[in-house]
């Protein structure tokens, strides 16, 4: 997995609440057996019309935001389906961080597995960041994971919380499975004990 340390990029404002994973990547693109290539269909039904023409009003189609690396979104981002195709599509488009007041649980976890940093901020901070994002391409937002800060284009800095283990994995680009495999002894011991206590499992 790619490391996430510092990011300076364009932030796109997406002030809708309850953006679900069906919106992020509709089901017709779930029929792939690969992880790559989904960026072109990110937010497909909002981004294109039926004929595949771009909707000029959608934020990521506007010239200022075509290279966006950060999304600032409304409450409860990523709700609904567990499809990891949602973070795959975001990552493939180039999005490396999403900022909202809240995220749905499964989406939140899926982000960390794909080098994307989801940042939870209180409403008043999201409001400030949303305004900053609305400034367009000239306004670059900075995110420093080590320091746990987001800095607006005006230099205003806000701190955020992140789970220490998840932070460690992102900073170092670590693969969870490899880490867990090192604990195989503990899993063996647990499994033996559990199958004695609950043999029907």
């Amino acid at each position: 997995m790619e490391k996430f340390e510092k990011l300076s990029g364009i932030a796109a404002p997406l002030p809708l609440v309850n953006i679900d994973t069906d919106m992020i990547i509709p089901k017709q693109f779930l029929k792939t057996i690969k992880r790559s290539g989904l960026g072109v269909n990110l937010f497909d039904e909002m981004r294109y019309d039926r004929e595949g023409n771009e909707n000029p009003d959608f934020v990521l189609n506007k010239p200022a935001y075509r290279e966006a690396q950060i999304l600032v979104a409304g409450d409860n981002f990523g709700c609904g389906s567990s499809r990891e195709h949602a973070p795959w599509a975001l990552a493939d488009f180039g999005i490396k961080a999403v900022i909202s007041t809240s995220f749905a649980d499964i989406f939140f976890n899926n982000c960390f597995k794909n080098g994307i940093l989801p940042i939870v901020m209180p409403q008043e901070v999201v409001d400030v960041l949303m305004k900053d994002a609305e400034k367009g391409a000239n306004a670059r937002m900075e995110i420093d994971l080590e320091a746990q800060t987001v800095t607006t284009s005006d230099g205003e800095t806000f701190s955020f919380e992140v789970d220490p283990f998840k932070k460690h994995c992102l900073l170092n680009g670590l693969d969870d499975i490899g880490l867990t495999m090192e604990k195989v002894g503990a899993i063996d011991t647990f499994e033996a004990k559990a199958s004695a206590a609950r043999p029907w499992v």
Partner: protein, 468 residues
């Protein structure tokens, strides 16, 4: 010993290792797998030269993509990409030696219906699947939740998940339900009250008389939609009904192991003085038959109500409601019962079980689907279909003008050919009314099977209590 919730008890019994910061390695007892969220995980195993750690605890079934029309064994019925996905599951199941129910097996069906039906899901277990509606299995007092594909690969390789414990939330439904009110109305009403993020960070335990009174099928409907309330999982403590349902199922314990299991299962309840981080109480008698009017499962109102005015909301919800009404083609103040439907979908992991089909038959017997309405019933599994045929329900449906389909997820997420056309309006027993969920620009109203059946025969959203 300090008092514990049911969630605490199951959690504690599955912690392999806990780090100082509270990050745990949690052992997984059952891993359910379907064709859409697993191919990349199996591919990841192959690339890393890893195997499946516990193939005997891993169960696969294709459900999302499969057509529900007769003759579907013919691969020509699937689009090429669907066919490739189903073929990949076929190959992976054989190569890694996991339990598998292929499309032509009578036990095939929606993964969350097959698991309990075959006795794979048992009280006190940890159950995961690359699907958010894994919450369904919580009805058995199992800790069950959806995971992403990276986690699917993690569980395949290690039979564990890296997790932090959620908080405990109690949702109590007191007293009795009124006539015409069902498990679906309970679960939708809870989401209507708490919102789609109300359960974020929590595991919900549903309790109270109205929950105890539900059948296992009803309890599965309630837990199924815990995810729509944002919760990681929904739970209901096992009781005699649970044990009765499980007993004799193909993969349920037998003989001495049954007795041993029962001993533990009977300890699976929340202690009286357990700590709850959040409590929501709803009186059963206050719950009405409900429908959704918008594009979020929290957009719930009693069927007797009218389409709301977006200005009546606050914050980001004002814009969201405006957008939803525009998408749904509705006007504030319009009576919900005046909304005409073009399609009716009965099925899904929320409401595709035998009891749901019986409820539909009760409403439609001797009646006919309204003119211009296309209505389909998609049983949740091949065995549900067979039972409905044996009970004579299929005949009632067909005489009433419903299409009687083969098992699968079907129009709940419309990955197979069962889809709404743009602006087509559907009364649906599924779980999500998101934009485009049932087809591009399709309009979904969520409701109970009885309410969907009532809409089918009248051609508009209908209060099932008024239907003679």
């Amino acid at each position: 010993m300090s008092p514990k919730t049911l969630y605490d008890k199951i959690w504690d019994a599955h912690v392999v290792q806990e780090d100082e910061d509270g990050t745990c390695l949690l052992y997984i007892d059952r891993h359910l797998v379907h064709e859409v969220t697993s191919p990349q995980a199996f591919e990841g195993l192959r690339m890393a030269g890893r195997g499946v750690r516990a193939p005997d605890k891993t169960i696969a079934v294709p459900d999302h993509n499969v057509p529900t029309t007769e003759g579907r064994e013919d691969p020509a019925q699937m689009t090429e990409d669907s066919r490739i996905q189903v073929a990949a599951l076929d190959k992976n199941a054989k190569e890694f030696g996991i339990h598998y129910y292929p499309v032509d097996d009578v036990r095939q069906g929606i993964v969350h219906i097959v698991g309990p039906e075959q006795g794979w899901t048992l009280p006190g277990m940890t159950v995961v699947c690359g699907d958010s509606h894994t919450a369904t299995h919580g009805a058995f007092g199992a800790l069950a939740h959806g995971i992403g594909t990276s986690e699917v690969e993690h569980v395949l390789a290690t039979q564990t998940l890296i997790q932090k414990k959620s908080k405990n939330m109690k949702v109590e439904i007191t007293g009795k339900l009124r006539p015409g009110v069902t498990a679906k109305d309970i679960t939708l009403s809870v989401i209507g009250k708490t919102g789609t993020a109300g359960g974020t960070g929590y595991v919900i335990e549903y309790c109270g008389e109205a929950i105890r009174d539900l059948s296992m099928e009803g309890r599965m409907t309630v837990c199924n939609m815990a995810i729509e309330g944002g919760a990681r999982a929904g739970l209901i403590a096992p009781d005699e009904k649970t044990f009765e349902y499980i007993k004799g199922r193909p993969h349920a314990p037998k003989g001495a192991q049954w007795e041993q299991a029962m001993e533990w299962w009977k300890t699976l309840y929340s202690d009286d003085d357990a700590h709850w981080d959040k409590v929501v109480t709803i009186k059963g008698e206050d719950i009405a038959p409900v429908v959704t009017w918008g594009t979020s499962p929290e957009d719930v109102l009693p069927i007797t109500d009218v389409v709301p005015d977006p200005e009546s909301f606050s914050g980001g919800k004002v814009d969201a409601a405006r957008r939803a009404l525009d998408y749904m083609g509705l006007t504030p103040g319009q009576k919900l019962t005046d909304i005409k439907v073009d399609a009716v979908f009965i099925g899904s992991c929320t409401n595709g079980r035998i009891e749901d089909l019986r409820a539909v038959a009760d409403v439609v017997k001797g009646k006919h689907v309204a003119e211009g309405v296309r209505a389909m019933i998609v049983p949740g599994s091949g065995l549900v279909r067979a039972q409905a045929e044996e009970e004579g329900l299929a005949e009632i449906f067909q005489e009433a003008g419903f299409e009687w389909r083969l098992a699968g997820c079907s129009m709940c997420l419309a990955m197979n050919p069962d889809q709404l056309a743009p602006e087509e309006r559907c009364a649906s027993t599924s779980n999500r009314n998101f934009e485009g969920r049932q087809g591009y620009k399709g309009r979904t109203h969520l409701m109970s099977p009885a309410m969907a059946a009532a809409a089918a025969v009248t051609g508009h959203l209908t209060d099932v209590r008024e239907l003679a």
